[in-house]
């Protein structure tokens, strides 16, 4: 896997891409001139992106922000001339954060709305339930899910995760820092389904490589609403409590954790921001988090060295310097996940322009064009940072941050490199039939 950071500016790149797309267009016109009239007539027909959204169910707090970001991104793309000269239309369907409903939504996209691609899902069980339908209906499916399921090779050639790093890579890049700075005897609390199992499986490997050990694993159903009963299982000799939780009860979880530890000696605490994604750190009873650490993909609180891309992104999606909605400071964003929706849409655009995508008959070319991508430079379209993309496992790899809670804000204390998170690929989707 080689990656040379792109030296071109955004503008140059867009220009050159447009040229490329133009060239492809001309080439096509030359080849299929009889079809020309049809293409011209259909050219203002929008490109439809079907967004599978967690509007209800346990993923709703993410869904709300995924929708805002996707809408903002599509608006921006359309203001800049759309994709291949055609406007982009977002078709949104609620999947209720339910795998069965998710599969039906994919079918609806393919057969009723006839969308060009499907996009946007977060919760890993929905991705796993929906992917086979996307594969059978030959609908390119770009997820923003974090799970390892895409990169593991267990899905199919139509599923991509180009806009957000997978959990296995995130963990691999952070385990050395945890082992060096926090401790080596770990207890894990994680949600009892695919996403949590990725944490369970790969963190235990990653920490073992650092000479550490997981003492106890405590799975929690994602629909749970009361958590105190899980905490007595944390062994006394635990040095680091590693927590990651999702679902409607996350705030209760963190509060009850604070109540349980009280003012006694407690292990050091390292959490995935998922445990408090879309939750305000200034909430009463969260004071105990002071000095604990969190993983963040994209710092919620604007840091002193904030890039102009981050600034621009916040402005476009309506988020202030504290990661809250500009219209309601109590409405906190899912900042470490939602950038993936932004970046993924620009990747879809890039791939469609590369292959001169003109309609569903070009879906296979789109798959190959996406697979041919190798990486994305930090830019307006990729504000979270540069990424390497591996076309064989359909997965991208980016940088991660570890932040400490100080005065109810998160301050970045460590940033990993892309190389820290690379692992040996275990699959090759490009060998699968289209």
């Amino acid at each position: 896997m080689s990656y040379t950071p792109d030296k071109m500016t955004d503008k140059d790149k867009r220009k050159s891409l447009r040229k490329l797309a133009g060239a492809a267009g001309i080439a096509m016109t030359a080849q299929f001139s009889p079809a020309l009239t049809g293409h011209v007539l259909g050219s203002d027909r929008p490109i439809k992106v079907g967004m599978q959204l967690h509007r209800t169910g346990i993923g709703a707090s993410y869904g709300r922000w995924y929708e805002r970001v996707a809408v903002a991104t599509v608006k921006l793309i359309n203001e800049e001339g759309g994709i291949n000269g055609r406007p982009v239309e977002l078709v949104i369907e609620d999947d209720g954060t339910d795998p069965r409903r998710g599969a039906e939504v994919i079918e609806k996209f393919a057969t009723q709305h006839k969308t060009d691609v499907a996009y946007g899902t977060l919760f890993s069980h929905v991705v796993i339930g929906s992917s086979p339908r996307a594969g059978e209906l030959k609908l390119p499916y770009y997820v923003v899910s974090e799970g390892y399921h895409v990169a593991s090779g267990s899905l199919n050639r139509y599923v991509f995760q180009p806009g957000i790093t997978d959990v296995r890579s995130q963990i691999a890049s952070m385990a050395p820092w945890i082992a060096t700075n926090l401790g080596k005897k770990i207890t894990m609390i994680f949600p009892d389904y695919a996403f949590g199992h990725d944490h369970r499986n790969y963190f235990s490997i990653a920490i073992a490589e650092q000479g550490g050990k997981v003492l106890e694993m405590i799975p929690v159903p994602p629909t749970e609403s009361s958590f105190t009963r899980y905490f007595p299982r944390i062994p006394r000799e635990t040095e680091v409590l590693y927590h990651v939780l999702v679902g409607p009860g996350v705030l209760t979880f963190v509060k009850e954790m604070g109540q349980f530890f009280g003012t006694r000696d407690r292990p050091r605490i390292f959490g995935y921001i998922d445990s408090l994604e879309a939750v305000d750190f200034a909430t009463p009873q969260l004071e105990f988090l002071q000095g604990t650490h969190f993983w963040e993909a994209f710092p919620r609180y604007a840091q002193p060295d904030q890039t102009r891309h981050d600034q621009y992104f916040r402005h476009q999606v309506g988020v202030d310097q504290n990661g809250a909605s500009v219209s309601d400071s109590r409405d906190i964003s899912a900042y470490s996940h939602m950038f993936g929706c932004w970046e993924t849409l620009f990747i879809i655009k890039q791939a469609m322009e590369t292959c001169g995508y003109s309609g569903p008959e070009d879906r296979q070319a789109l798959i190959e064009a996406t697979e041919s991508l190798t990486g994305f430079a930090e830019s307006r379209n990729h504000p979270q940072g540069s990424k390497v993309f591996n076309g064989k496992i359909h997965q991208c790899f980016g940088i991660q941050h570890i932040s400490r809670v100080e005065d109810s804000r998160l301050k970045v204390v460590h940033t990993t490199s892309i190389e820290d998170g690379l692992y040996e690929p275990e699959a090759d989707y490009t060998q699968m039939a289209l």
Binding site: A60, S61, S225, R229, P232, P248, T252
Partner: protein, 293 residues
């Protein structure tokens, strides 16, 4: 953690659970006792109570105690009003036929739950406790508010007890429960009593919810658990027996708290649900049923 502290924590958790459960189950039990119907929408009344509590405390700026106290009155009142209307508009039309009522209250369950989804949104929201202090045991910490929930629930139960056994209203309810026709002969407006009892049952669920809201997050799908737990309590306690239900709430709440610390909570729920179904089949008068049916 040693077994002693472990049991202490489990009992505390169990007592809090039992306290809220007893209010909610008492409501279900009252409705079954007087109307002879099972209210499947009971958990949704609990949920609406919590949502109203959150909204009240959200709208009233200032000390969270103020919002909590207001919610303690407003939530049961509004929920009672909804329930009363539902009884008059829907259940009266089907003459409180037991089977039709179950279907109708399933319908109500969806209508209430989905209306809240539209109005309140799909997010789980946290309500600030009216007061918060921390209790430090040598082995673990515990929320002072949670402990106070036990006391508040006990006080509320005493009040309900007083109303049922010492007031004219309670007398009318009991008379209707014992013999509907006779009550009618004595000039008791049975239709109204039915509506009031249905509302009272919902209000009890809402009261429990107001106590619970600062502990757990408020969410439009939070009604299912209290419903199933209340079912379990009412069946074990002997359908319609109030003393049995209270005893059962204590036993079930405590044992659920303790069992789910030793085993997986899912397994605990499976076993208790299965046992209760078997009780209903083989000992329909309930384990603590004080009246034989």
């Amino acid at each position: 953690m040693g077994l002693g502290p472990f049991l202490l924590l489990a009992s505390l958790e169990g007592l809090v659970q039992a306290a809220v459960l007893s209010l909610s189950a008492l409501g279900l039990c009252l409705v079954f006792g007087v109307l002879r119907v099972v209210n499947v929408a009971h958990g949704e009344f609990h949920m609406v109570g919590a949502v109203i509590a959150w909204s009240v405390s959200h709208v009233l700026f200032g000390h969270p105690l103020l919002g909590f106290l207001v919610a303690l009155f407003v939530a049961p009142l509004l929920v009672g009003l909804i329930a009363f209307t539902a009884d008059r508009v829907i259940l009266r039309k089907i003459n409180h036929n037991p089977e039709a009522t179950i279907v109708a209250t399933i319908g109500m369950l969806y209508v209430i739950q989905q209306s809240v989804l539209i109005g309140f949104g799909p997010d789980a929201r946290a309500m600030e406790p009216p007061f918060y202090f921390h209790i430090n045991f040598p082995w673990f910490g515990y929320s002072g508010y949670k402990l106070s929930v036990i006391l508040m629930a006990a006080a509320l139960l005493l009040m309900v007890w007083h109303v049922l056994s010492r007031t004219r209203l309670g007398l009318i309810m009991r008379a209707t429960q014992l013999d509907r026709e006779m009550a009618q002969v004595f000039g008791i407006p049975v239709g109204w009593v039915y509506g009031l009892v249905f509302a009272a049952g919902a209000m009890l669920a809402a009261l429990g919810a107001v106590l619970m809201a600062p502990i757990r997050q408020v969410h439009y799908l939070m009604g299912l658990d209290p419903l199933l737990m209340s079912f379990i309590v009412v069946i074990i306690g002997g359908l319609g027996s109030i003393r049995g239900a209270l005893l059962a709430a204590l036993v079930i709440g405590m044992s659920d708290g303790i069992i789910s610390m030793f085993f997986s909570p899912t397994l605990a729920k499976m076993i208790s649900t299965l046992l209760v179904a078997l009780v209903l089949i083989f000992k329909p008068e309930g384990l603590f049923g004080l009246r034989k049916s």
